[in-house]
């Protein structure tokens, strides 16, 4: 389970030897500084897109990436997918409408409500789909799949369940990730540590070995599990969800009717996160540490933090592409009582009120197809939601980061697809912050969150 890949097998050295570089994506958008696409390749993709203008039907795809000569790889990769779609469907053109990720829900809902719905939302995550579906913004796709002979069973059931609400599927997932544990192999060698931690206690103890103090403050922090939301914290892309599950906690009952974010196991997990945070001076001092030591960027990239949880793809996508890449290796996330990680899922969804629903469905289906998921895997190191493809992609058998990431899918969780899924996310983060900043105890903060999320859920259940 806890695969370990030492210095001799680091991803960077493999990439150098193979001469290939791919960009990977966390759902929060890690930015690659070394593009997989040459300027010529970019120009070719963009020129081809122009040649497809003036089709009999043109559909609009809303997405938080844009393809330009200098954009990140995601925009170009998406345009290439649209180009392939337009090659396959000579009657249909695809144009994109850009919306920043932070405003994506707002842009989409206002456009749909205002009668100007885009035809297809091509980059939408599992946190937003249940909430948008419950509020009537999205069309079901399970009926379309059945009518079209598309077998949804080919898509991983866990990934698909993230888009399933009230028995219907509202999006076709084409990519997902999971959280794994990254550590700086140079720091480990200096401290004489030979294997990464497998438990929380080991992670904290090793973190202390890796700390470097500079007077009263820290020049390097070994490990902090959780940071306040909204910034490049030392805790990485973890969130309380990860630690709640790793401590055997449950955020919602099986029937999705009772919210349990104040489950004693989750309260205990948050208390542990606060305890470790306080050992490093608390949330405010860590913010200062990030600003000073890491200059506002991810502190793992600058060698200021030795161990960090991140989504699969972070290593090759961000660490190797950073200005002064560090040597790193990966393992499964250390846990307390239960081995666990969690996944984010990207999907294509169909807004209600689309002008071209049939053509939009064709694009959604195309993006979830084996061909496109393979393209994303080979180009962006994105993990397909069609598990059958995992064995067909060579890098998945040789890339240490992907091997650990793929193995961890057996322990993965998804955020519960509640009708108020956005509220669940916001309130859990708010409770974490309140506890980390000592505005409330972990118990008080999670009790309050539980009350708010349950009230939102009850309101929906009462009206439905």
């Amino acid at each position: 389970m806890n695969s370990y890949w030492g210095k001799n097998f680091t991803r960077r050295s493999m990439l150098r030897s193979s001469g290939k570089l791919v960009a990977a994506a966390g759902l929060v958008g890690a930015t690659s500084q070394v593009s997989r696409f040459s300027p010529e390749a970019r120009a070719e993709v963009l020129a081809k897109a122009k040649a497809f203008q003036d089709r009999p039907v043109t559909i609009t795809a809303i997405q938080p990436v844009s393809p330009t000569a200098t954009s990140d790889d995601y925009g170009i990769a998406f345009q290439e997918v649209y180009n392939r779609f337009m090659d396959a469907y000579p009657e249909i053109g695809v144009e994109f409408a850009y919306s920043p990720w932070e405003e994506y829900t707002q842009s989409l809902s206002v456009a749909i409500g205002g009668g100007n719905a885009p035809d297809v939302a091509t980059w939408i995550d599992d946190q937003r789909i249940p909430s948008l579906a419950a509020n009537g913004f999205l069309r079901t796709v399970n009926d379309l799949a059945a009518a079209d002979g598309m077998d949804l069973a080919e898509i991983d059931p866990v990934a698909l369940s993230s888009n399933t609400f009230a028995g219907n599927v509202y999006g076709l997932p084409y990519y997902w990730d999971d959280r794994i544990f990254y550590h700086n192999t140079d720091h480990f060698s200096e401290a004489g540590i030979t294997t990464p931690p497998t438990t929380w206690q080991e992670a904290v103890a090793m973190g202390e070995q890796l700390d470097i103090k500079d007077g009263d403050s820290y020049a390097r922090i070994g490990y902090i599990p959780l940071s306040p939301a909204g910034g490049p914290g030392a805790g990485g892309n973890s969130y309380l969800f990860l630690y709640g599950w790793q401590n055997g906690g449950r955020f919602v009952s099986d029937d999705l009717a009772t919210v349990t974010v104040n489950d004693p196991a989750i309260v205990e997990a948050l208390a542990w996160c606060v305890e470790v945070s306080d050992k490093y001076g608390g949330a405010e001092e860590q913010a200062n540490f990030i600003a000073q030591a890491a200059r506002g960027t991810n502190p793992f990239l600058t060698g200021s933090v030795s161990m960090m949880t991140q989504p699969t793809g972070f290593g090759v996508g961000s660490v190797d592409a950073s200005e002064a890449p560090v040597n790193w290796a990966v393992s499964a996330s250390p846990y307390n009582t239960t081995p666990a990680t969690w996944s984010g899922v990207l999907s294509t969804a169909l807004p209600v009120g689309s002008q071209h629903p049939d053509e939009a469905w064709e694009l959604a289906k195309f993006m979830a197809s084996p061909e496109i998921q393979t393209y994303f895997a080979e180009t962006l190191a994105w993990i397909p939601t069609r598990r059958a493809l995992w064995e067909t992609i060579p890098a998945f058998a040789t890339d240490p980061e992907l091997i650990v990431g793929l193995a961890e899918f057996s322990n993965t969780h998804i955020r519960p697809p509640l009708p108020n899924s956005q509220e669940l996310w916001d309130e859990v983060l708010r409770a974490s912050d309140a506890a980390l900043y000592h505005q409330a105890s972990p118990q008080e903060a999670l009790d309050k969150a539980n009350e708010i999320i349950q009230a939102g859920l009850d309101k929906y259940l009462l009206n439905s």
């Binding site: 829900t105 707002q106 509020n135 913004f137 306040p228 939301a229 200062n288 540490f289 600003a291 939102g456």
Partner: protein, 304 residues
């Protein structure tokens, strides 16, 4: 035909032409402000969620608001920001106006320099602030270290985030300075000369002559700042998303969350109307209090 519709008097024709030229504003006002204004009032009594049926639920949204701790918290944050930022902005903009009121070499440049930042948008200010107030690495704490002061964590601290926003509000004092400059130019010189003849020193002249003559401008500026403070949004949206730990959760940002993250449009409309009523009531209170202290030189009642 057109000729018969034209008013016969010059005054009537001028009024008609004025209305014709102003009509784009009236149309825009009706469609973009008055319409949404009353629609929001209607929606505040419904469970409007953009999609689906809208049901009339009476005062339920308003009842919920009074039980909503976060809404109350956002109002407290907004009040805190308002109470601190208005006096500070008034004092700083008046001080800036007094500084550049008298002609001196470079006074035009000084006026331009102070006014210029107010032309930049909130997003620019927020982007700059994220660098200036970024813990010990930020410019603010580096500056403080020069005088051996350990600065706070500013935007990362629940205790300091709101005061940081108040400081950021000073970015726009240039607009207030221009208003006060205009008012200072219209302070009658004969009153100041009379005060000099009576032996008043400069502080006494400022306190007994200049300040009373500026009082209408101070009241006007106070009301502008009051309304702007109640609507503070951009800095929160760009810099903190209401954090850390809800310390910068201002009411308009909370309304945004309710409307566009939770699709609770009816509830958000009710919150908007409460905010509007509070703004209206506070403005009326300031006007009522201000009218007792404001001196209008040409006020007919004062002249009697």
């Amino acid at each position: 035909m057109l000729r018969t519709l034209m008013p016969r008097t010059n005054r009537g024709r001028e009024t008609l032409m004025a209305l014709v030229f102003a009509s784009p504003w009236f149309i825009g006002m009706a469609i973009l402000v008055i319409g949404p204004f009353f629609m929001a009032l209607y929606y505040s009594f419904t469970d409007y969620k953009i999609m689906g049926n809208t049901q009339w639920i009476g005062l339920e949204n308003y009842r919920r608001l009074f039980d909503d701790d976060r809404f109350i918290h956002s109002l407290k944050n907004t009040a805190y920001f308002t109470v601190l930022s208005i006096p500070l902005s008034l004092i700083c903009s008046l001080a800036a106006a007094l500084l550049v009121n008298r002609p001196f070499r470079g006074s035009t440049l000084a006026r331009t320099t102070i006014y210029l930042p107010s032309l930049f948008g909130g997003v620019f200010v927020a982007a700059l602030a994220s660098q200036v107030f970024s813990g010990n690495y930020g410019f603010a704490n580096r500056l403080l270290r020069l005088i051996h002061i350990q600065g706070p964590q500013w935007l990362a601290s629940p205790d300091w985030a709101k005061p940081t926003f108040v400081i950021l509000g000073l970015w726009g004092i240039g607009a207030g300075m221009v208003l006060f400059l205009a008012a200072l130019q219209s302070v009658p010189t004969h009153l100041l000369e009379a005060a000099i003849v009576d032996g008043a020193n400069s502080l006494q002249r400022f306190w007994n002559v200049t300040l009373p003559m500026l009082s209408p401008a101070i009241l006007f500026q106070t009301i502008l700042l009051l309304i702007a403070s109640f609507q503070v949004f951009t800095l929160t949206y760009v810099l903190t998303s209401g954090g850390p730990a809800d310390s910068t959760l201002f009411t308009v940002y909370y309304i945004y969350e309710l409307a566009f993250k939770r699709f609770d449009m009816g509830y958000a409309s009710a919150a908007s109307w409460i905010l509007l009523l509070l703004t209206f009531a506070t403005t009326a209170l300031v006007l009522a209090i201000g009218s007792k202290y404001v001196y209008y030189e040409f006020d007919e009642e004062s002249d009697r």
